[in-house]
Symmetry: C2
Subunit: 361 residues, 2 copies
């Protein structure tokens, strides 16, 4: 006789509890064994159904071939239709496949989530209880897009959303009392703008197709968001190339702007980059750009959209100061850190002691 | 006779199609009208069920009181149990409540999602078809945590995940052919580190409780992630205060590091900030910090963890250059932009023409 086992029903009901060889409450279910391949590798035992009606096998439990499909032939099934079928599965199937991270957290394997939502619901509860007993803290549950039916089950079990990408949603469960100490989701978008000036003191500008009504017709620096895992110095060059057709070389970050409460309540870091032009011929991206041109710097500055806006004006003043070599931007340097073995970009001034003496501390 | 209407069944089946006053396929359903308050303000008409069996009212369709609960009394219901009950609702209820954004996109109102998942499924499909016909592009569907049962329905209808926060998941649907042009999710975490040095040329350092095995026992600058909507200059001061008890004043951003492929595949911007100390007495955050102290700068530099690591060494070199006033960091300035009416922080050097002449372009 088996304890705490599970019969996984496709597609309706999960039964769980103690297996029992005798009738309970005067009800007996005759079970007819049908040969059927299990497909998903289930193997297991019989259980009592959740309405406390015992189920017996005509052959006795010990002789059940775990790979069998059982058919309930009772016509008085309480809450069960007369054609209910049962898959059976083992206790191993009742624990979610997961591993531990270095912080005492549990990471559930998204590729081994139970195929049946009822089995998932049961396994989830059983696993949470088990992890609680083991003193675990955070549970990370990544649910692929194709298994989205598991999401409401996880939420019902107490999970909250952590973040999502196109192909999955990550949910988390914080076990201890007190505030959740799991690391937060990414919080910032990163944009770049290119300040490109040629030997005629003309700045490269664009008119956007889609912009705020106050900006219609205004000429601006080419800007855009960097792509996933893209470098700021690459993204700036790419955006300028895509929008205007001009090839450039990254020089340095001149300044950056930090703004909050933008799309999706997130924040935004915008890096204004000085780029050296390497070509001259314009070719715009017609999806996003209305027009592009080389505009005399003074004419660019005189536009109302610049003059009337503190932010734009300041940014351009800084760019001009940089041209006049009265300014130090931050150049990009690839540095490898032994700490994490990665090469990452460090942005700083190139220091030459004899060259300058900026504002003291 | 009504066309394209919906009977919303709680909790089982949604029927839709044409209302019909005559028997179809030889089946007739007798409907007994029961007085029942609708609660959710449904009003409406009869429909044909999805298995093409017509339903008629004993009183005729025109005389149906739309606020009635209808009970199907057929005993040969094909696929329906003998106790199926039907709520009825109007065609208005079949379209999701939504508004348009300035880019031709649709934003579904998360507070007016249909209460019944079957009604939601039907409304979603009907709405998508309608928006397609109207030439709309992107659909934004925000599903609160408490309505997570709607998530798999949206996914089945073709939605993908966009992002999630604790209390909701945002899904999107891109209608036109070609790449999705909806703006992406936030992609970066932002961290800050504080370089704090006192009049004795001692740098403020901490030993972390939880760190990589290679760093155990190492003394480092206080660091941490900034909070949602927090300024870099505030976050740096806060982190130093929380970890060490020392009050400081933000001076400037000395440098920043940009790294990729970190937690959740996201990127990370880490800003090294110069802070001026305003107090001296140490008091650590015992949850995260093992110890804190004022350490002679030379001793700090000589640690293997600094000497052996290009990244750490470079960062500290830059900090020292800044102390020697041979360096220009980026100071924070709050600037209001007329473009979006916001005050945001612009980080740049303070330019004094006579003071310096840094590396030319």
């Amino acid at each position: 006789m088996m304890e705490k086992v599970l019969v996984d029903l496709r597609p309706e009901v999960v039964l769980l509890g103690r297996a029992c060889a005798k009738p309970v409450n005067g009800r007996n279910f005759g079970l007819r064994f049908l040969q059927q391949p299990c497909g998903h590798g289930e193997k297991g035992f019989l259980v009592k159904n959740s309405n406390s009606i015992a189920m017996t096998s005509s052959e006795g439990i010990d002789s059940v071939d775990p790979r069998m499909l059982l058919e309930n032939t009772s016509s008085n099934a309480n809450g069960l239709s007369s054609a209910a079928r049962f898959w059976i599965c083992s206790e191993e199937d009742c624990t979610l496949d997961a591993c531990e991270d270095e912080y005492g957290g549990i990471v559930v394997n998204p590729e081994k989530l139970p195929w049946n939502i009822n089995l998932f619901a049961y396994s989830l509860q059983a696993s949470i209880s088990s992890w609680k007993l083991k003193g675990k803290k955070g549970i990370w549950l990544k649910v692929p897009l194709g298994r989205s039916e598991l999401v409401p089950i996880a939420v019902k079990a107490g999970f909250k959303y952590h973040h999502a990408e196109q192909a999955y949603v990550m949910l988390t469960y914080w076990i201890p009392e007190g505030p959740c100490l799991l690391p937060a989701n990414a919080s910032h978008q990163v944009g770049v703008g290119g300040f490109v000036i040629n030997e005629n003191n003309e700045v490269l500008v664009v008119q956007e197709k889609y912009c705020a009504t106050t900006s219609v017709g205004a000429w601006k620096l080419p800007t855009g968001f960097i792509h996933e895992s893209e470098e700021i110095y690459s993204g700036a060059v790419r955006e300028v190339k895509e929008e205007t057709g001009i090839d450039t070389e990254f020089v340095e970050v001149i300044a950056f702007r930090h703004a909050h409460h933008l799309a999706f309540g997130k924040s935004d870091l915008f890096f204004i980059c000085m780029l050296r032009p390497l070509s001259n011929e314009l070719k715009i991206d017609e999806h996003e750009i209305e027009a592009a041109k080389w505009m005399p710097l003074t004419e660019f500055l005189e536009q109302p959209v610049i003059q009337d806006d503190n932010m734009f004006k300041k940014i351009i003043d800084i760019c001009i100061a940089r041209l006049g070599k009265r300014y130090c931007g931050l150049a990009a340097h690839q540095v490898i850190s032994k700490f994490d073995g990665r090469s990452s970009a460090l942005y700083y001034n190139v220091v030459e002691p004899q060259d300058f003496n900026c504002q003291g501390v």
